[in-house]
């Protein structure tokens, strides 16, 4: 059955502009977490993507500096503005990740942080009087930094990716890809995709989300590029008169905006120009919903257990009533943190 034809101009097509105006007023939140060993190029890459010095490298600079013993979580929030659109950008760095001799469990603080953000949002959502606009601190994207030159995924990568992909959108990147020739890059990417398929690690964009044809084509091309082999740079250099962002070596100059040199442009466009709202939506619809479902189920189970215990034991009914209020933080998501 075809849609009925509208006779006169009604004007509901201005909703897009209305939404835009609201959006401009409100601005939006974008939270990105960087996961990778020290020296992989995390800070440089994120500063390059947003063309701003957002974060400082947390690597060890002097011999006297103490080596971190655990993974630290250090979020940095800044507000960027472009053409009237404001974004509250939070970059969460993870210094200490993968830097020890024994890296067992180095991912635990990361997973916990991501889940804590979901939990905080859930707690605010479940309040009887909740805010009109909840400040969204949920992690929308995770840039996972792979080690160039390895055969593919390392054991640590496999373990961490399995867990990260369950709680957030993961975008795997190779930050210092200027140590790989084009052939080596192709081989590495193929290898990584094979191993991800083998270990059933699904990274963003997800195959099931392709509903529109053009989306499907775009997503397929993105998936082909994964993991993004990029080069980051905060310096501008002069190449025959033109000023480019890049790195100057004795034997050549890398222009990070050159598609033949690296995938930087693709990554930036993908993250910011085409899939930005999708990243935020998918976080809310998929990861947050998953978390919420499992949490509420756990609460329900707990409540059932307690009511069963109350019925069986001598627990006063007052205690049972008290449980029916929405639980304040901390929610029982601690057991999941052991994953």
């Amino acid at each position: 059955m075809s849609a009925p034809e509208v006779q006169d101009y009604v004007g509901f097509d201005t909703i897009t502009q209305q939404m835009e105006r609201k959006f401009l007023k409100r601005g939006f939140n974008l939270n990105v977490i960087l996961v990778g060993e020290s020296g992989m190029g995390k800070s440089t890459l994120v500063n390059s993507i947003f063309s701003t010095h957002l974060v400082d490298s947390q690597g060890r600079r002097t011999a006297q500096e103490v080596i971190r013993k655990t993974t630290e979580i250090s979020p940095v929030t800044q507000t960027l503005e472009e053409n009237g659109v404001r974004v509250r950008l939070t970059i969460i760095d993870t210094p200490g990740f993968g830097d020890q001799c024994n890296n067992e469990g180095c991912w635990v603080p990361v997973i916990k942080y991501i889940k804590d953000q979901h939990a905080a949002y859930l707690a605010r959502e479940l309040k009887p009087f909740r805010d009109r606009i909840i400040n969204d601190t949920r992690v929308h994207a995770c840039l996972y930094f792979l080690n160039p030159g390895s055969r593919g995924l390392r054991p640590l990568d496999v373990e961490v990716l399995k867990r990260l992909t369950e709680v957030t959108n993961v975008i795997p990147v190779i930050a210092k890809s200027d140590s790989m020739t084009t052939d080596e890059r192709t081989l590495f990417k193929r290898r990584v995709k094979e191993e991800m398929a083998f270990h059933r690690i699904s990274v963003y964009p997800y195959a099931c989300d392709d509903d529109v044809d053009e989306d499907r084509a775009l997503n397929a091309s993105i998936r082909d590029l994964i993991p993004f082999a990029v080069v980051g740079s905060e310096e501008t250099i002069d190449v025959d008169g033109t000023v480019v962002r890049g790195r100057r070596h004795g034997w050549g100059v890398i222009n990070i905006f050159d598609e033949a040199h690296c995938d930087f442009v693709h990554l930036r466009n993908f993250m910011l120009r085409t899939h930005l709202s999708d990243l935020i939506e998918v976080t809310a619809q998929r990861h947050y919903e998953q978390f919420r479902t499992s949490q509420l189920r756990q609460i329900k189970e707990l409540r059932d257990q307690q009511s069963a215990a109350a019925a069986a034991g001598a627990v006063p009914p007052g205690a049972v009533v008290a449980q029916q209020q929405p639980p304040s933080a901390p929610l029982p998501h601690q057991p999941m943190a052991q994953a």
């Binding site: 020296g39 060890r60 890296n103 390895s150 200027d178 094979e194 070596h249």
Partner: protein
């Protein structure tokens, strides 16, 4: 060239009048060593994919390590650190080299790399032990030396200070082997970044007291060598790039290198990386020193520690000269002296015993004589008594008639029976 009485132990410098010819000795040594051939054992340590095999193949311009075979993805975890060795006999200008390269796949690849150096350390020490055992053999004509002459440690080009695993590994091994740290995949760092990175690494190494192999010049070296050594020293740790493939430069020449969309990095170009310096130090100028240090310093230290820990004490008596004839003579003399001593002792004992026996006999003789005398006197006394009694008996029997003398023959009984 007699030494004068003034300095009996001193060495004098004398000038010769003509050409004697002992200056040809080094050539003789050279010829003999060339005939015998050399061996060199190298170990490479670094995480998977950092370029160990490529660098070795590039250094020796031979495919010592075959290409890595592609394995399908598997759920097997990395199984600890393996220590494998490959040997190759290579020859250049008539000089034969038996090159052994020890690989350490799996180092630093697992999630938990806490004791990743343990198998490597054990391997190095077991080679020392094997050499020690051979040295203590009765027949030492064939000693095979497979001690590690140098360990090349590959550092990831992070740009920051050393990682925990780097520091831990180097701290545990630097007293057992010649440690040569290099920066792998140097094409990822710009010149400025490289300078800072090298400074950070050296600062870390000094801070933790790690001893790495450095070319040192002494007063015997000619100024060329001194300058060379200084140049090499200034580039440590070397930032290297390896490549087995040849690429075409802009002018068409084929060089070993890596081809990128933005340019070509040449392996043997000193402006691009320090490969030349590494090769020079490792093979062309300091190979002998590496082997020497391994033999004279590292091995000796290990041996001393090991023997001390086993409870051996320095016994200088072992070092006196051993001459068999002299020894036999000494033994004979010692034996004779012993025999004489025994003889003297025995005769002394014998004398003593004889003396004793004589004394005893004398004593018993005297005793017997005394007793004899005594008994004689007793007997005499008894006889005297009896005579007395007889006389008395005769005197009391006088009043008897003569007639009675005849009947006394028969009446004696009556008279006497009267008693």
């Amino acid at each position: 060239m007699k030494s004068t009485a003034g300095n009996a132990g001193g060495v004098q410098k004398k000038k010769m009048n003509g050409y004697v010819g002992f200056s040809n000795y080094p050539n003789q040594v050279h010829r003999r060593s060339v005939k015998r051939g050399f061996n060199f054992t190298l170990m490479v340590v670094g995480e998977s994919g950092i370029g160990k095999s490529t660098l070795i193949n590039t250094l020796f311009d031979t495919k010592i390590f075959p290409d890595r075979e592609e394995m399908p993805p598997s759920a097997d975890a990395v199984k600890g650190v393996d220590v494998t060795s490959m040997s190759a006999d290579i020859q250049e200008n008539g000089v034969k080299l038996r090159l052994t390269v020890v690989d350490t796949p799996g180092f630093g690849d697992a999630i938990n790399n806490e004791d990743a150096w343990q198998p490597i350390l054990e391997n190095i020490e077991s080679r020392f032990d094997a050499y020690l055992a051979q040295e203590n053999r009765v027949n030492r004509s064939k000693i095979s030396d497979n001690r590690i002459d140098a360990v090349i440690y590959f550092i990831k080009p992070t740009g920051h200070c050393l990682r925990v695993i780097d520091i831990e590994f180097m701290k545990r091994l630097h007293t057992k082997v010649n440690l040569i740290p290099i920066i792998a995949k140097a094409d990822t760092l710009t010149a400025g970044e490289l300078e800072q990175f090298k400074a950070k690494i050296l600062a870390d190494i000094n801070y933790h007291g790690i001893q790495i192999f450095k070319p040192v010049s002494d007063e015997f070296d000619d100024p060329e060598t001194v300058a060379e050594n200084r140049e090499i020293l200034s580039k440590i740790p070397f930032a290297v790039v390896g490549s087995e493939k040849y690429v075409a430069r802009a002018d068409g020449t084929q060089v070993r290198g890596r081809s990128y969309p933005w340019g070509i990095i040449e392996v043997e170009n000193e402006d691009h990386n320090d490969f030349i310096k590494l090769r020079q130090m490792l093979l062309r100028s300091h190979m002998e020193e590496l082997k020497d240090t391994t033999d004279m310093v590292l091995y000796e230290n290990y041996r001393t520690q090991k023997l001390l820990s086993m409870g051996h004490v320095q016994d200088n008596g072992v070092f006196r000269e051993f001459n068999p004839l002299v020894q036999m003579e000494e033994e004979r003399r010692a034996h004779e002296a012993k025999m004489q001593k025994m003889e003297a002792e025995m005769s002394a004992v014998f004398q003593q015993k004889v003396h004793e026996k004589e004394a005893k006999l004398k004593q018993s003789e005297e005793e017997l004589y005394a007793r004899h005398k005594e008994m004689k006197s007793v007997l005499e006394k008894q006889r005297g008594d009896l005579e007395d009694k007889k006389k008395r008996a005769e005197a009391s029997a006088r009043p008897i008639t003569p007639m009675e003398q005849h009947p006394t023959k028969g009446k004696k009984k009556n008279i006497f029976s009267g008693f």
